[in-house]
């Protein structure tokens, strides 16, 4: 019993340490002080000024860019990754090995290497860097993760049901749509979520491919902010809202998954 309490205590202590910075952000999102760590009385001014139009135009733009880039990159890499995984599944073992080697490169390479290598690619081709180059870069490092989350689903699938669909007169396209896709859908969804998360959280690849036309994502905005010496106070309520939104979303997903298991 004592052992159990100690063990659980250890986990909760770790979690407390892990969450303490986030808790600090949340607490200090309710004060007006410019510097994180100063308390100048309770206030919700940061929240109202975050939503007031015009006051923080550049921050709003950075947020919109981050989200749209994330959605485009995640959508494209989910489609590309799924098609690729279905193809890779029917490769012969030899070619599959080569394929998985190439697929693993962006996963194992540090962000900085991906960023610099793409930077050199765009520079040497004379492509001006901006929104499109960032999206391409994000697709590059997201797709392998989608492939990796769809492939196990294909491996678990009973290969006979696809053949059965064909025998029963389905065209290969129909068999794909009505048999394979429903089976691998959970893998596609977790691939999409993972890709979106990687995209919105990315800094190292973005900073090398974003160019200097004034385009900002949340990460580059925060970085240049921090280098100037201070963090825009409105980032505190923004992070709080994002965190709560994700928390609620995960709880809902978990509940639904739990219900499905019981049913």
């Amino acid at each position: 019993m004592v052992k159990k309490i100690l063990a659980h205590g250890y986990l909760w202590l770790l979690l407390l340490l892990l969450y303490s910075p986030i808790i600090i952000i949340m607490i200090y999102s309710f004060t007006e002080a410019k510097v994180l760590g100063n308390w100048s009385g309770f206030s919700t001014k940061l929240y109202t000024s975050l939503f007031a139009t015009g006051t923080h135009h550049s921050l709003a733009n950075a947020l919109i860019n981050t989200i749209t880039i994330g959605i485009i990159a995640a959508t494209v890499s989910t489609l590309l990754g799924t098609i690729t995984a279905i193809g890779a599944y029917s490769l012969r073992p030899g070619s599959r090995k080569v394929f998985s080697f190439v697929n693993n490169i962006p996963i194992l390479n540090g962000d900085i290497i991906i960023g610099i290598s793409l930077f050199l690619l765009f520079v040497s081709w004379g492509i001006s860097q901006g929104y499109i180059t960032v999206v391409l870069a994000h697709i590059t490092f997201c797709t392998p993760y989608v492939v990796l989350s769809v492939l196990p689903r294909l491996k678990q699938m009973n290969p006979n049901i696809y053949e059965a669909a064909l025998d029963l007169g389905a065209t290969p396209m129909q068999a794909l749509r009505k048999v394979i896709v429903p089976e691998i859908l959970p893998g596609m969804i977790s691939g999409f979520i993972l890709a979106f998360t990687l995209s919105i959280d990315d800094f190292a690849v973005t900073v090398f491919t974003i160019g200097n036309e004034g385009l900002e994502t949340l990460s580059t905005y925060i970085y240049s902010d921090a280098r100037k010496g201070g963090l825009t106070p409105e980032l505190r309520p923004l992070s709080t809202i994002i965190f709560i939104a994700v928390l609620v979303l995960l709880i809902i997903i978990n509940r639904r998954a739990g219900k499905k298991k019981e049913a």
Binding site: L18, G81, I83, I116, L120, T140
Partner: protein, 265 residues
């Protein structure tokens, strides 16, 4: 003509073609460009100059060695603190454990730079000086979920009949842990090491923010050179890091032939 087209379409192997082309352009070619730029001077002539510049520049070499040190210490600390956590999780009821695992991963949804800045605020709050300890603590804090999750995944799949067999054969709990559980969980530890060591070695903004620019890691050195348009030198430094990453991967894949090891997802 139409028929052969249909054959290609029906053979699902060909579905890999779009990505293979994409990867050739955006993954493989850029890596060759790093190699190309690394062996070139400003005028585009072949040279080893970028590498001799690095090895003759003690500050750069020191930063490189120091970064490896920080990455090793971070990885070891992540194992020391992460392994017990993963082990405790596997002893819990599944539903409860899965929730806690999710709680460990959740902070990753808050932008990494904001989390880092909040860590800085936390250190200020309890007046920890922003130096080496802060850097390592911040790194462990950022990367420990990547260690816990793969270890938890391998431990979860561990066949309990091995443990029972060891018990039947008279092993003490301590022996069971060291001789059965630890060796069988090695694949998870190895993927954890990869997932912590690699990002730590190549990180740059985090170290800057955590130490107020007092401590420079190799990633920062590379970024500064690229920013100052010293592309060839920057490419050479990237190539050196690439070798390090390659060596680590080879070392890790040596005893990890199954891809069931359990990545983060």
């Amino acid at each position: 003509m139409l028929n052969s087209f249909r054959n290609i379409f029906n053979s699902r192997k060909s579905w890999t073609i779009p990505y293979v082309i994409f990867a050739a352009i955006f993954v493989v070619l850029p890596l060759f460009l790093i190699v190309l730029y690394a062996f070139m001077d400003d005028a585009g002539r072949f040279t080893f100059g970028n590498f001799t510049k690095f090895f003759l520049h003690p500050e750069a070499v020191n930063t490189f060695v120091y970064s490896i040190g920080v990455a090793i210490v971070t990885t070891v600390l992540c194992i020391i603190f992460g392994y017990p956590a993963a082990y405790i999780l596997t002893r819990m009821k599944m539903k409860y454990a899965d929730t806690i695992v999710m709680l460990f991963i959740l902070p990753m949804w808050v932008n990494i730079l904001i989390r880092t800045l909040a860590t800085v605020a936390l250190f200020d709050f309890v007046s920890i000086p922003l130096g080496e300890e802060a850097l390592i603590f911040g790194m462990v804090y950022n990367f420990i979920p990547f260690m816990i999750y793969p270890i938890y995944n391998t431990l979860k799949k561990l066949d309990s009949s091995y443990i029972e067999a060891a018990e039947d054969l008279g092993a003490t709990p301590f022996q069971i842990f060291y001789k059965v559980i630890v060796p069988l969980s090695m694949p998870g530890v190895v993927s954890g090491i990869l997932m912590v060591f690699m990002p730590t070695i190549s990180t740059f903004a985090i170290s800057e923010l955590l130490t107020m620019n007092n401590i420079k890691l190799f990633g920062t050195t590379i970024q500064e050179n690229i920013n100052n348009s010293l592309w060839n030198y920057g490419a050479a430094l990237s190539l050196i890091m690439l070798f390090l990453i390659g060596a680590t991967t080879l070392f890790a894949s040596d005893d990890k032939d199954n891809d069931e090891g359990g990545g983060l997802w």
